[in-house]
Each structure stands twice: as structure tokens, then as C-alpha cells.
């Protein structure tokens, strides 16, 4: 988690976030969530705290507060609101994907998923028998006309102002209507109890990370809403070694490549490469665009399309936290 090149407020938020994660010691700074305006007067004294990323930082003791109970409510509220003035968009360059599956691993790690749960899933595709096969990463498309949020009976899944479709697993009743409604198979259900320790289970639920996962509720790709809040690229985008992913803001008309960090005009990238979205006839208006698998210069090596049997009782190599 790098904080370079960010203004003071953002790094403070970042810091807050890290400390909140660190809150195993039950102490964290949460007053900083609110704007800088209503900070209490500083006393001049400083207390040293270790952040989750291992940095030692100093903070005024007056700003240290116990994690409040409303924390969950605050996270839910800001998670529902989203980031004003953005409309996130992803571009996936199919000509680049070599099936490294680093995106899948990073995603499963961050969101604490089982090996068969894929917020992002790299599929092996072949359009026709006479054309070359290719690999196709498939996250949630964060549709602008999402069939899934419409059918939710309790508003547990919703679309935010920045275009992200999220799920609140503290609200979800587990009816799975959204799974039935999603034509892209983007949604998964927690059929079993996640293998958490009591401590992991009792963490404050972050709706933008969907962690801790909860049995009997839905989980899905979140466009890494927690990372976007910190001004960082999504987990999958950052993890890709092959330059497959571009991620950015449609309103700025700019997308950044997760590997090369090159930034380009979104509209140009789409136009030059004949970018498209899947199944436009469904009218769902996906916000994940694809660049066709052209000029591929590496071999296609098919791998097993199915995993070995599911092992519900063993959690995989688990979380980053």
C-alpha cells in the first residue's frame, strides 16, 4: 500500500484505514474519517502507532478513539453512497491474457474466498471451431442497467453513484434471486460457513471489501471499492503481470494500465481497438469493456476446466490481513 503522491487528507484516510484493520488491539483512530474541519485541538504530544503495512507513524493522542459501535453503520453508509464524481470502468485486453491467473489469486486473497469462488474468473474461450482459443477474464460487469439489483427484495445489493454494484451482506437474506437474474454468472453464494477464527469472524464488516464473508449471503466482484477509495487500482488490475487490465474513470475518459501504469484516453483505446461489451442485446450496459484477442503471439495452453472436488471444510491460504 503506497501512499506516495497523495495529498495530506488522502494519506490520513489511508492511515486511518490501516489502523482500523490493525484494530486487533481494539484501539484505532476513527475520528479522522470525518473531514479535517472538525478535528479537536492538537496537544503537541505524539503517540507512535504501527500501521498494517508496517509503517511507524505518530499521531496526536487527542485523535485516538476507541472503535465505536457505529463503525459498521458508517462503513455501510459510505459504501452505499460511493465516490462522488466518478464512473469507474474497466477495459480487458484479451490479446494480452496468458492465463497467469494472478488476478484470480489476488482477488481471492483480498476477499477471502474459497478456491472455487471467483469474483474474477479466467475462462478458456473459443468463439468458433475455426478461430483460435483465448483466455478471458470475467469480473462483474457492474452494469448500468443491472438485472441483479432490480430483483433484490431488501436492497441488499445496490448500484452506487460511481457505478459500482455492491452487496451488503449484513442486509442480504440469501434468497439468491440476484444469482438467478445475473446473465453473466458474476454472483456467488456462501453455501458454507467461511473458515474463520472467532477473531476473524468478529471483524467489523466492510461493505466495500465484503469481508468478513458471511454464510448464507451473496458475494461478488466489487471493483475493489476499498482500493478505489484510497486512490489505488483494484486488486486484480494491480496483480496482472501481462498488461491485460486498464482501469479508470469514464467521466475523466482516462484509464490506467495496471501493469505498465500507462494512462490513456478511454474512448480512444476502445475506438482504436474495436472494444466491445458482452451481450449488448440484453440491455444491461456493462461497464467492463473488452479488446478483441487479436495478434496473439504466445501459445494457448489449455488447462483443466474444472477444479478437483470442493472441500468445504478447508479454507485456502487465506487473507492478506
Amino acid at each position: 500500500m503506497k501512499n506516495k503522491g497523495k495529498d495530506r487528507t488522502e494519506s490520513r484516510r489511508d492511515f486511518l484505514k490501516n489502523t482500523a484493520i490493525l484494530s486487533a488491539g481494539a484501539m484505532a483512530v476513527s475520528g479522522l474519517v470525518s473531514s479535517c474541519g472538525d478535528q479537536p485541538a492538537e496537544s503537541g504530544e505524539k503517540v507512535a502507532l504501527l500501521t498494517a503495512s508496517g509503517e511507524l507513524v505518530e499521531v496526536d493522542p487527542s485523535q485516538i478513539k476507541k472503535v465505536r459501535k457505529e463503525k459498521l453503520g458508517e462503513l455501510q453508509e459510505r459504501g452505499r453512497e460511493g465516490l462522488a464524481g466518478h464512473h469507474w470502468v474497466m477495459v480487458i485486453d484479451l490479446s494480452k491474457c496468458k492465463n497467469a491467473r494472478k488476478c484470480m489469486a489476488a482477488c481471492q486473497g483480498a476477499h477471502e474466498l474459497r478456491p472455487y469462488q471467483h469474483h474474477i474468473n479466467v475462462l478458456q474461450m473459443q468463439d468458433t471451431p475455426s478461430t483460435a482459443p483465448y483466455y478471458m477474464p470475467k469480473p462483474c460487469y457492474h452494469c448500468d442497467n443491472p438485472p441483479c439489483t432490480k430483483v433484490c427484495p431488501v436492497n441488499a445489493t445496490f448500484k452506487r453513484q460511481d457505478g459500482i454494484v455492491l452487496i451488503d451482506n449484513e442486509r442480504c437474506i440469501g434468497c439468491r434471486f440476484c444469482v438467478a437474474a445475473c446473465p453473466y454468472s458474476a454472483r456467488m453464494f456462501q453455501w458454507f460457513e467461511p473458515d474463520y477464527t472467532e477473531e476473524q469472524k468478529n471483524r467489523v464488516y466492510d461493505v466495500e471489501l465484503n469481508v468478513p464473508q458471511k454464510r448464507g449471503t451473496i458475494t461478488k466482484c466489487l471493483f475493489s471499492a476499498d482500493r478505489l477509495r484510497k486512490g489505488q487500482l483494484p486488486y486484480c488490475v494491480s496483480a496482472c503481470p501481462n498488461g491485460v487490465y486498464w482501469f479508470g474513470d469514464k467521466l475523466e475518459d482516462a484509464v490506467t494500465n495496471g501493469t505498465s501504469k500507462e494512462t490513456r484516453k478511454f474512448s480512444e483505446l476502445i475506438k482504436e481497438n474495436a472494444g466491445y461489451t458482452y451481450f449488448e442485446d440484453l440491455g444491461t450496459k456493462p461497464q467492463v469493456y473488452y479488446l478483441p484477442p487479436k495478434n496473439r503471439t504466445f501459445d494457448y495452453e489449455p488447462v483443466d476446466k474444472f477444479l478437483k472436488e470442493e472441500q468445504p471444510s478447508t479454507h485456502h491460504e487465506s487473507s492478506t490481513h
Partner: protein, 451 residues
């Protein structure tokens, strides 16, 4: 105690007293068979409760449902129960409004089935929920856009109206029981006393009752059509090949009448046998009821042809894949068995009069009812294995669905509960309405005299 005449209609010389005693008689005896039957049902229900407890503790993972079959047996059961419950409205409401008076002796059977079935429909939904502890989120955070909210309200409305429609015509009968069943156990007499709500059979009471019944049989019509139409929309509003169909509403409603009518035929046979009601549930009633069943099956076959032929003719990408699976693939044996044994063959057989006699028609109705249940399964499950993108990077068994023991036991328990509800109700209430049958025979005056 004289036994009722076999296979003959009530003769004109039958007295009101005879009708009354014939219909009350079964309530006097708690036969050994009945006690065993009730215990058997309770054991099934306890097994189901145990299985459901297991599911509550372990999560829905104990079912065979997975991410590519997120809805399974429980949702099929839900659709099936809603379907069966619709018969209450068809017989009590539509036939009555059409002055089809032959249906009088079977109105209560159909209402009992409606109440038992709609209760289990509601239960099936809760059983299917991943977080049943949050069921209150539905009224608390309900969003009007969601068909589940529509279903939630309409199922509850239908349950209430069905109960009222069962109860209202019972009032005069309960009053008769209150006056006649003097040797019944204390609790039973108490129930009659309470539920007869002071019925004396005065002219104004009759007027009120008849008006109330008329209001309810009209009210239940739009609710009944809504409940199954909305249930079909749970599927039709999703952009899935095989579900996203404009005829799903009427397709489901017509199918519902098939399921319910066959359930009524089976129940008629059982009650006729067990309660010696041969004089009240006659061959004539079976004949008419089976003609009605043919009519509903023809209607359902018509919608089936529409549903499959139109999609099959164009054979669009996913529609084609779905139909390939149904017609020729994995699901083909089940699909064709259901369509032939549960629909085509019954229609043909029932066209012959001897087949509409009680025993043969009951056997045919069992096939129709099982077919109706499997058909729901075939509507709900295969579509989900046919998404836009291939199913990959999950265990191979995610690509098919075979219900687990837990699901099967819970399902059997819901069936047992529905039957138990009906069994217990007919233990204390007459299964054939006394006053309505008597009215039909022209004994109005007796009721007015009875104070």
C-alpha cells in the same frame, strides 16, 4: 348405524337428518388407522425438522444447490405448492360464479387443499432462504421493484383469504356440530363453541353470511391469478433463456389448475373411501371433475406447445442449447416421461368414460400430480446450467444438480405437513359441507326453522 348406499346419488326421499348424520358420522370415530396415519405424518415432519436443523447449522451447503444451480428443489416445491393452492379459487370461486352447482360437495376439499398448500408454499420460501433469521428484512427494507416483495404480500394475502373462504361456509356447519356433537371431547366442543361465533341461523345471519361468501369468492379471483402470475415472474423477469418468456404467467396459471384439479381428484377418492361418502362424492362428481381436469390439461398443453415450439422454431443460441438439453440431452428422459405420462396420456385416457370412474381416475390423477411436480423441477433447474458464459474453474459437480437427502427429507416433511393440516381439519370438521349439500337438495326451510 346404517351405511350409506353405494355408488348411487342421494335419492329424493333422503331426509335432511340423514344427510347431516352421514356427514357428521366420520367425526365421531377416531379410527386406529387414522391414529397411525397421523403418527406417521408426525414422524415424517420430525425427520424433516431434524434435516432442516442440520441445514440451519451447516448452511445451505448441505443441499446440492451451488452457484450454477442457486435455486433447486425448494424453489420447485414452492412453485408446486402455489400451483396446487390455486384449485381452491377455481372450484370455490370460478365454478360457483358460473353456477356449476355440481361442485358443491367438493368445495371444502378444494379449500382444505388450498390452505394446506399455500401454507407450505410460504414455508418452502423460508426453508430456501440463506438467512431465515433476517426474514423481517422483507417488510423492513422491502423494495417494491422486487417480484419477491410482490410474492411475499400476495402469498400472505392469499393465505388469509383462503382461510376466510374455508371458514365462512363452515360457520353454519360448526353450529350444527356444536349442537349435535354433544359427546365430543371438551376441547373439541370448545372449538365448535368458539368458531360458530354465536350462529343461530337467523335470516339476517344467513343474509350476511351469503353476502360475505360472495364478496370473498370474487375477491379471491384476482389474488389467485396474481399469486401464480407473480410466481412465474420470479423467473420471467430474469434475462435467462428458458425463463424470459412473455407467456409464463398464463402458462403457470393453467399448469396450476392441472396440479390442483388432480390433487382434488385424489383427495375426493381418499375421503370417499375413508368416510363412506359414496352417496355424496358420486361417480357423477368424479366424471365432472375429470372433465374439468381434461379441460385444464388441454389448456396447459396449449401453453406448453406455445412455450416450446416458438422457442424451438427459432432455436436461438441459448434457447437452442436449453431445448437441446430438455429434448435430447440429460433432462430428456425426465422431460418426455413427464410430458407423456403426466399430460398427454392422461388427456387421452380420461377421454374414455370408464377412466373417469373413481379408482382409475385417482390413479391417473397421481400421475398427473407427480408430473406437475417434476415439471416445476424441469422449469426451475436446467435453465440455470445454461448461462451466457461457460461454467469453468469450479468443481465438476457444480454443473449438475441431484437433490441431497436433506432436501428430499425436508421436501417430504412439507408434503406431510400439508397432508397433516388437512387430516387434522377433517378430524373435527365435515369434509363435505352439510348445509350447502342440504340446500342443494331443497332443505332450505329446515335451516330457517332451526333456531
Amino acid at each position: 348405524m346404517s351405511s350409506a348406499p353405494l355408488h348411487s346419488d342421494l335419492s329424493d326421499s333422503t331426509s335432511y337428518e340423514k344427510i347431516r348424520e352421514d356427514l357428521i358420522r366420520p367425526l365421531h370415530k377416531n379410527t386406529f388407522g387414522n391414529q397411525v396415519w397421523i403418527r406417521f405424518l408426525i414422524i415424517l415432519i420430525l425427520l424433516g425438522a431434524f434435516a432442516y436443523g442440520h441445514q440451519l447449522i451447516k448452511g445451505l451447503g448441505v443441499t446440492a444447490m451451488r452457484d450454477y444451480s442457486a435455486w433447486g428443489l425448494y424453489i420447485s416445491n414452492f412453485v408446486f405448492w402455489v400451483a396446487v393452492s390455486l384449485i381452491g379459487s377455481l372450484i370455490s370461486s370460478i365454478l360457483k360464479l358460473l353456477n356449476q352447482n355440481w361442485s358443491t360437495p367438493i368445495t371444502r376439499i378444494s379449500e382444505l387443499i388450498a390452505v394446506g398448500a399455500i401454507t407450505m408454499a410460504a414455508a418452502s420460501i423460508v426453508i430456501d432462504m440463506g438467512r431465515p433469521d433476517r426474514v423481517l428484512n422483507i417488510p423492513l427494507h422491502g423494495r417494491l421493484q422486487s417480484p419477491i416483495i410482490w410474492d411475499f404480500f400476495i402469498v400472505n394475502t392469499y393465505l388469509v383469504i383462503s382461510l376466510i373462504l374455508l371458514y365462512l361456509p363452515l360457520i353454519p356447519d360448526i353450529a350444527i356440530l356444536r349442537d349435535r356433537m354433544t359427546n365430543a371431547p371438551k376441547w373439541q366442543k370448545k372449538i365448535y363453541e368458539l368458531l360458530s361465533i354465536g350462529w343461530q341461523g337467523t335470516q339476517s345471519q344467513w343474509k350476511l353470511l351469503k353476502r360475505a361468501i360472495l364478496v370473498m369468492i370474487i375477491l379471491i379471483l384476482p389474488v389467485a391469478f396474481s399469486i401464480h402470475t407473480v410466481t412465474s415472474w420470479l423467473f420471467a423477469v430474469t434475462p435467462r433463456a428458458g425463463w424470459h418468456s412473455t407467456i409464463f404467467g398464463p402458462y403457470f396459471v393453467s399448469g396450476a389448475f392441472v396440479a390442483g384439479a388432480s390433487a382434488v381428484v385424489i383427495a375426493m377418492y381418499v375421503f370417499r373411501k375413508r368416510q363412506n361418502l359414496q352417496a355424496y362424492l358420486t361417480d357423477k362428481h368424479f366424471n365432472k371433475m375429470n372433465l374439468l381436469l381434461i379441460l385444464t390439461m388441454l389448456l396447459y398443453a396449449y401453453f406448453n406447445i406455445n412455450e416450446y415450439l416458438v422457442a424451438g422454431y427459432t432455436w436461438q443460441r441459448l434457447d437452442g442449447k436449453h431445448l437441446q438439453e430438455l429434448f435430447l440431452g440429460h433432462e430428456a428422459p425426465l422431460f418426455w416421461l413427464t410430458q407423456i405420462l403426466g399430460l398427454v396420456l392422461p388427456i387421452i385416457l380420461l377421454l374414455f368414460r370408464p377412466m373417469r370412474k373413481p379408482l382409475p381416475s385417482m390413479i391417473i390423477a397421481i400421475f398427473v400430480l407427480i408430473g406437475a411436480w417434476i415439471k416445476r423441477f424441469l422449469i426451475v433447474i436446467p435453465v440455470q446450467f445454461n448461462p451466457q458464459f461457460p461454467i469453468q474453474n469450479v468443481p465438476e459437480h457444480f454443473t449438475h444438480y441431484i437433490p441431497t437427502y436433506t432436501e428430499i427429507v425436508v421436501t417430504l416433511a412439507t408434503l406431510a405437513t400439508a397432508i397433516l393440516i388437512i387430516t387434522l381439519l377433517v378430524r373435527i370438521f365435515p369434509v363435505v359441507p352439510i348445509w350447502e349439500v342440504a340446500h342443494e337438495k331443497g332443505f332450505h326451510k329446515i335451516f330457517k326453522a332451526e333456531k
